[in-house]
């Protein structure tokens, strides 16, 4: 069994800055429609939600060991548990690496959002 791990930390103030300076273009370029809608529904927690999404994307890149476009990695929310949906270049990269089981957890404190990703596949 092959296992890869990725982690990333994002300063929520950086997300605020991106929203202030570039708003719709920032969201459209980096996040999927589902992520954007969930963040919009979070109201005052929008930047925190986006920071968690971004951290998850970067954590996946580290687990893959290969850069992929940000919107090819989607953070999903299935009830209380976050999940990952890889598509296009991210899915292709995961297939090449033999990684087909993905787990993610999101946390945060003191102005930061954090994501940890574990990817597994047959050796």
């Amino acid at each position: 069994m092959r296992t890869r791990v990725g982690i990333d930390l994002v300063a929520i103030e950086d997300v605020h800055a991106a929203l202030d300076d570039h708003a719709g273009r920032y969201v459209a370029r980096v996040f999927t429609q589902g992520e954007a809608e969930r963040a919009h529904d979070a109201g005052a927690g929008r930047a925190t939600e986006l920071a968690g999404c971004f951290a998850a994307k970067e954590a996946v890149v580290k687990a893959l060991g290969e850069e992929v476009p940000p919107r090819s990695v989607e953070l999903t929310r299935e009830g209380r548990h976050p999940g990952l949906r890889l598509s296009g270049p991210a899915a292709e990269s995961a297939a090449r690496a033999g990684l087909d089981e993905w787990s993610v957890t999101i946390g945060g404190a003191d102005g930061y959002a954090c994501a940890v990703v574990i990817a597994r596949g047959a050796s």
Partner: protein, 82 residues
Amino acid sequence: MTEEIRNVLRDHARLPGDVDSLRDHDDLYQAGMTSHASVNVMLALEDAFDVEFPDAMLKRSSFESIAAIRDVLGELRSEAAA
């Protein structure tokens, strides 16, 4: 172009040190630029130079140094002029 790139980095890269002290090939991530800050830089570069980075260029290496940014912008401008 290089001075404008330095202006963008000064305003958006959230580097702890003086941007003017960076050499063109110094690693910006080692200098303190985070992965999210590189997104802020990317969007600001698009505004400053009236270009759009395609998905294929949204990678760490495109923004790893002033020289790398200059090369990518040059490539985008050449494609736009063609």
